[in-house]
Symmetry: C2
Subunit: 233 residues, 2 copies
Amino acid sequence: VSSPDTQHAEARQPVLGLLGGTGEQGSGLALRFAASGLDVVVGSRDPGRAAAAAADLSATLAAVPGAGRVSGADNGSCARQSDVVVVAVPWAAHEHTLRDLAGELAGRVVVDCVNPLGFDKRGAYALEVPQGSAAQQAAELLPQSRVVAAFHHVSAVLLRDTDLPAVHCDVLVLGEDREATDLVAALADRIPGMRGVFGGRLRNARQVEALTANLISVNRRYKTHAGVGITGV
Amino acid sequence: VSSPDTQHAEARQPVLGLLGGTGEQGSGLALRFAASGLDVVVGSRDPGRAAAAAADLSATLAAVPGAGRVSGADNGSCARQSDVVVVAVPWAAHEHTLRDLAGELAGRVVVDCVNPLGFDKRGAYALEVPQGSAAQQAAELLPQSRVVAAFHHVSAVLLRDTDLPAVHCDVLVLGEDREATDLVAALADRIPGMRGVFGGRLRNARQVEALTANLISVNRRYKTHAGVGITGV
């Protein structure tokens, strides 16, 4: 018989970390991934806020059979504890957060879901990024990580709505590394209603990030929380 | 009783022109719009090619009850005869075609569906456009037209497949003029399976055009003809 340690290693699910896990998008993804059975580490600059957010999520998840454990940590510790790390910080914090955490994120699959958007009276618009996209900036700053772009278009409102058993949308997953994009697509598949669809290389991440501006226009016009579907797949 | 002329004016559907109507995308849209009952003018630089394409389409449509008439013309005459003009020329011909036809296109609703893409060994990628997008370039070149961006993601293969009674996808419709975007969304709604969805202002057209590169990656990976859906609308 195999030892408990070996059994654990064989059956082991990835631990999922969320940098900026106390924000709307991060906590929404944390909730859904923990509900799907993964252990989740909520990261924040402020470990106190991370712990409070983790306690809130744990209380919500107490009613969910088979839910994973949720803990809180500062962003660096979150990265070290996790196999897959979702970057859900505001765009303004993207560059310095990743620059500071390059060591902790080495060897991890890093999932960038950050949308570089500006807002004015006429709505949202895409910001210029020197590297082309937030995901390409992440890849430049994290040469020892496998960077994947995904979860850009998932409504935080729907993710956080515990009355909704499923979140119906497709998640475009972009990256250079087939193993990493397959892993992230499989993560999307864990959330009821959601499906991961490979969407190309990181050089085509810019328009995926920017499309969120169009979805904001859709939301405004139709009073909804729009998402993207891919027909024909 | 009203005169035949007045009746005609009251009931009159827009005549739809297609610049580059002999190409795959243009002829596919021509087929579907004529099948929906609209009169369609296929435009080409070469009026002989336009006439031949129109004759082919007319032969296909002979079996479709209620189909509109299809005629061919050079691009300038196509623009003059039409109320709504779809720009379906290759990106390389976009700027000079619209510059040459600015007079003929004055007063028309111009629907730009051109995707500025490059291709290399690794697949498709978005090209830089000085004005930001093909649609913004059209708006700059055609100050007397109402420019709308739409139909970027509709598979030409599916449009042209006469065995398919419907083409299931959503069409993001972008523009500055509510009347014009509503008109173009209603045109999309005429094609079975298709739905027009307002997707924002022209400043957000770039990512909609560029997303076609991602759909090409989807097609390659999943051996399909992918399209876009908007969930929540």
